[in-house]
């Protein structure tokens, strides 16, 4: 049986219909076929979160997700987060707090943080809750403190 399939999904709000191999990860399809190079391959085994994208607004590791499973779903990557040349609230908070060092983990962190902020809007969360919410992302520069502060600022602005 053929290993080729056609999938239809929304990427950053734009409908895409593309041919994929069932053996491809969502990460490979996003990077190689759609040019979404913010989606980084770090560990490739679901430990570092550098490939985090939002699948129907829920963060997943694109490296451990078959592209065919995205059929009919909606994907968000960092490429789609800014509007009219304005950074998203989370992106801006990362800039303001200096939450970016070498930058390789940043797109994954921004997406995980975006999902966390959207999920906890109007909820009181502690720094510990934020750390647990971002536990699926590694920053090898160890710049966690400013990242946590950036997320905290986003949620404070909402309350």
């Amino acid at each position: 049986m053929s290993l080729n399939r056609t999938i239809t999904f929304a990427v950053n709000g734009k409908k895409k219909e593309i041919a994929v191999d069932v053996r491809q990860s969502l990460l490979e399809v996003l990077r190689e076929q759609l040019g979404m190079i913010s989606v980084k391959q770090g560990c490739a085994v679901g430990e570092c979160g550098a490939c985090t994208v939002l699948l129907d607004d829920v963060p997943v590791d694109a490296c451990l997700y078959l592209a065919i499973w995205a059929d009919g779903r909606s994907i968000r990557t960092v490429e789609g987060e800014s509007r009219n040349e304005m950074l998203s609230k989370v992106q801006q908070a990362f800039v303001d707090e200096g939450a970016v060092q070498c930058g390789i983990c940043t797109p994954g962190f921004v997406m995980a943080a975006t999902a966390f902020v959207e999920k906890h809007k109007h909820h009181k969360v502690s720094r510990h809750d934020i750390r647990r919410g971002l536990a699926g992302n590694l920053c090898r520069c160890t710049g966690y403190d400013t990242i946590v502060t950036a997320v905290q600022k986003c949620l404070e602005d909402d309350s």
Binding site: M1, L3, D21, V22, R23, Q24, S25, E28, A44, V45, G46, E47, G49, T52, L55, V58, P59, V60, D61, L64, Y65, L66, W69, A112, A115, F116, R132, G133, L134, A135, G136, N137, L138
Partner: protein
């Protein structure tokens, strides 16, 4: 690209069983967080995959009229941990699940996959064993039920015939009503780590008497286990610090941990005894008991 040779997708339980029968070498893939990692690392035989990721009838969490809780094996960890039913009736399962991986992994990984993978460190196994969970298994000749405790046969070996698929995980009302529990995972890191030892205690306390205790461990033996000799020994005793000391002493005879790169046997035995004391204590407190 993952290196498998054939792929078929099942949209129903019957279709999955049919495809398994047709493909004697095929493996099921559900959430993908174990199978795709093994494929990436080139471990094991995953040349032929049957994809059950999208079987909607296996993705549910419900309560029957008699109060029994039923979890569909394709429920992802996040859904189980955030379920109002689970949090209300068996919060010990939610506690355990929230120690697994990180949010991304919990959004993808399924509870049935965790159990069917059959590793001794499966964090969802010990709370479910302590809750006397029963699994339903469907095959070509119909379906059968098995206590989860008997489902684990050895490291990465479970009681599934090739053509069979887990279709439900049930915790009956009499096994959770009136009980409280606690879970603790000892690991080197607070997240994204595999348990050195996992421990679940579920108990019932009436008039300061421990009328029932069910104590389960992960990574304390080749499979997740219950400590039945200890449970039998202490059932019916009055709650006290001495009781906790006796449990911690007795439990060592119920387990058989081994040395691995993660921890030595002696260290594991130390953690097992310490957790017996702490986890049972917290479970007793949660059940309304008092310990001086």
């Amino acid at each position: 690209m993952f290196n498998f040779k054939s792929y078929s997708r099942a949209d129903s339980i019957q279709e999955a069983i049919h495809l398994l029968k047709e493909n004697p070498e095929a493996h099921l893939i559900a959430g993908g967080t174990d199978v795709l990692v093994k494929l990436h690392k080139g471990k094991g035989d995953f040349d032929h995959l049957i994809d059950i990721h999208g079987i909607a009838e296996l993705d549910f969490i419900s309560q029957k009229n008699d109060g029994d809780l039923v979890i569909g094996p394709l429920s992802c960890f996040t859904h189980v941990a955030e379920s109002a039913l689970i949090r209300k009736h068996i919060p010990v399962l939610a506690e355990a699940i929230l120690t697994i991986g990180g949010p991304q992994v919990r959004n993808m990984a399924t509870i049935g996959g965790n159990l069917c993978n059959g590793v001794p460190s499966a964090d969802s196994a010990t709370p479910l064993i302590a809750l006397n969970a029963v699994v339903t298994i469907a095959g070509q000749d119909g379906s059968r039920q098995l206590p989860l405790e008997d489902f684990f046969l050895g490291p990465s070996r479970v009681a599934l015939e090739h053509h069979e698929i887990m279709t439900a995980i049930t915790v009956s009302r009499d096994n959770y009503a009136g009980y409280s529990g606690h879970f603790f995972k000892y690991a080197m890191r607070d997240a994204m780590d595999i348990a050195t030892i996992g421990c679940s205690a579920v108990c019932r306390v009436e008039d300061e008497v421990l009328t029932d205790l069910r104590l389960a461990y992960g990574v304390a033996a080749p499979v997740p286990i219950r400590c039945k000799d200890t449970e039998d020994k202490i059932r019916g005793r009055k709650v006290s610090t001495q009781l906790l000391n006796d449990i911690a002493e007795a439990v060592v005879d119920d387990v058989s941990p081994r040395t691995s790169w993660r921890a030595a046997k002696e260290f594991r035995l130390q953690i097992i005894a310490t957790l017996a004391h702490r986890v049972v204590k917290q479970a007793i407190l949660n059940a309304g008991g008092t310990i001086q």
